[in-house]
């Protein structure tokens, strides 16, 4: 039971650390001297993104980013479909990332 409590405590502590660092990261970014103030419409945590930015953020959360030239457009279409299922992306996000990767392979 003691170990259970220790394990639970460690898990909660890890979650708290993750949240804390996330908040620190956000606050440090926003406090960067000279940083351009974003318009209110795009200042949210998930602003509308271009394909490159969305690809880097969503795919980079789990693994290193592989070069767009590593696969052709048809292959990227299949890969991003599968990644949509794994990562819980919306259809619009899937299309945005696929379009970017297809354009980047040319």
């Amino acid at each position: 039971m003691l170990h259970t409590r220790i394990g639970t405590g460690l898990a909660l502590a890890a979650l708290a650390v993750a949240l804390g660092v996330a908040l620190i990261g956000c606050s440090s970014d926003s406090a960067t001297p000279g940083a351009t103030t974003k318009p209110a419409a795009i200042a949210s945590a998930h602003p509308p993104k271009g394909g490159a930015e969305l690809w880097a953020q969503t795919c980079g959360q789990c693994h290193n980013l592989r070069s767009p030239s590593e696969f052709n457009g048809s292959e990227w279409q299949v890969i991003v479909y599968q990644m949509r299922l794994r990562a819980g992306l919306t259809g619009d996000q899937q299309k945005t990332i696929t379009d970017f990767l297809k354009s980047a392979t040319r």
């Binding site: 639970t8 979650l15 660092v21 440090s28 789990c62 457009g73 599968q82 619009d92």
Partner: protein, 448 residues
């Protein structure tokens, strides 16, 4: 210029004509003196010199004009040539893309997956080399339908001490995209119970050579299940919500093995009691860099022949944070997952053993911190990653396999490519009941 030359010539002829007339007039006494003759001759010589100069200038100008015309023609020809080359290159690219798309195995069917080769030296065991191969087949039928299939192939020693190639079907499903926010998957799929097997276990993604205890050989969390699932994502304001709900055959509880009674068998894909497992996961991304999730699964896990219905309830919490931070001059990864498993208390009567009854609560998980100096000046330094993991598994001491094991694993990875990594790790093991098994591990992981 031409008019000037003609004018000068006319003047010269007029003067010459005048001189002749003067000589012709000499017999009549109206003669030209020697002085006048010399003067006229001097003027004629001067004009001749001027004409020669003008002829030379004109010739030089004509040469320049010809050269300029030639340069213009060359430039125009070069531009036309460049345009033709650009068009040809564009055609080549388009044809190459078309041909690549038509090539067998790539139009709709993509073969991916991963490979690993490793070495483990664990206290109390023979050190050994290991190799695994996990091909992944993706076949997109059309814009909405995808087939996904995967195998785990490994060389291992079986129960009677013989080496054999173990081949496990880990994924075989069909997905259909219903709309922007929903996909339906049916078949054998990776269960979104927590995220380790969903995202992090391939050897080119996992930062360590082995799996955490809760997700490894004696796992207390499912990996693949047969059933049907609805999943997707929803953008809400500035955040994203991910969800998955599924019904599967579910795990089964081991009842007849005296060494493992009470443990859940997640590799049994048939339903033993006609009561399906139900589960799901909710994920939330308040910012793009952070996802937190909660998973739940409820299942009846007893074999049909078992005397009593046995229910199991599994829960898990997970968090994943990845961000490149300027003040750290690198990328930090914070990752934690914890699983709680409760199997209803029942009395087991395994063959060759006395009756067993125990509090069947288990929990385990891991917390990882990794740092990669992605902003370092040196390429060698940028390719290094330092990782530390704490993991543990707590099983009731009254269970046949009861123990509390915790490990600290210290790893250094070197990324040869985004999908190729060499991992070195030292593991400090601590068990309450069994012998501690510190280990040294090396693994080369490659994503195909």
């Amino acid at each position: 210029m031409k008019a000037m030359i003609v004018g000068t010539g006319v003047l010269a002829l007029a003067l010459a004509g005048g001189a002749t007339m003067a000589q012709d007039a000499s017999p009549a006494g109206n003669y030209v003196t020697r002085e006048e003759y010399q003067k006229l001759k001097g003027q004629l010589d001067t004009m001749k010199q001027e004409m020669d100069t003008l002829r030379k200038e004109r010739a030089a100008q004509q040469v320049q004009l010809v050269q300029a015309n030639k340069a213009t023609q060359d430039r125009m020809q070069q531009e036309e040539l460049d345009k033709i080359i650009d068009d040809m290159q564009k055609d080549i690219r388009e044809n190459r893309s078309l041909l690549s798309g038509l090539r067998s195995g790539t139009t709709r069917l993509l073969i991916a997956g991963d490979v690993s080769a490793g070495f483990t030296a664990r206290r109390g065991e023979n050190s050994t080399f290991e190799a695994t191969f996990a091909p992944l087949f993706l076949w997109q039928i059309n814009e909405r339908i995808l087939f996904e299939g995967a195998l785990d192939i490994a060389v291992e020693r079986n129960g009677v001490g013989e080496n054999e190639t173990a081949t496990d079907l880990t994924i075989a499903n069909i997905s259909y995209l219903v709309n922007n926010n929903l996909a339906i998957t049916a078949g054998l799929f990776v269960v979104p119970f927590s995220t380790y097997h969903l995202h992090f276990d391939p050897p080119w993604i996992n930062k360590f050579p082995d799996d955490p205890l809760a997700f490894g050989g004696n796992a207390i969390a499912p990996s693949s299940e047969i059933g049907v699932m609805g999943s997707g994502g929803i953008l809400i304001g500035g955040t994203r919500l991910t969800y998955a709900l599924y019904v599967t055959n579910g795990p089964s509880v081991i009842t007849d093995d005296p060494n493992a009674a009470g443990s859940l068998d997640f590799d049994n894909f048939t339903d033993l009691n006609n009561d399906k497992a139900v589960g799901g996961r909710l994920g939330f991304l308040p910012i793009p860099e952070l996802e937190v999730g909660y998973s739940l699964m409820r299942a009846s896990v007893n074999p049909e022949s078992f005397t009593k219905n046995v229910n199991a309830l599994l829960m898990a919490g997970d968090a994943n944070y990845v961000k490149e931070l300027d003040w750290l001059r690198g990328t930090i990864t914070l990752r934690a997952e914890w699983v709680w498993s409760n199997v209803e208390d029942v009395t087991y009567h395994p063959a060759g053993s006395s009756a067993l009854r125990f509090d069947n609560d288990r929990n385990g998980g891991y917390a990882t911190v990794a740092y990669r100096p992605t902003k370092a000046d040196s390429k060698v330094i940028r390719n290094l990653e330092f990782a530390v993991r704490y993991d543990s598994l707590d099983v009731s001491r009254k269970a046949p396999d009861g123990d509390f094991e915790q490990r600290w694993t210290f790893g250094i990875d070197y990324w040869l490519a985004p999908n190729a990594v060499i991992k070195f790790a030292y593991q400090v093991d601590d068990k309450d009941v069994g012998e501690d098994q510190n280990a040294f591990l090396i693994q080369f992981g490659l994503g195909i």
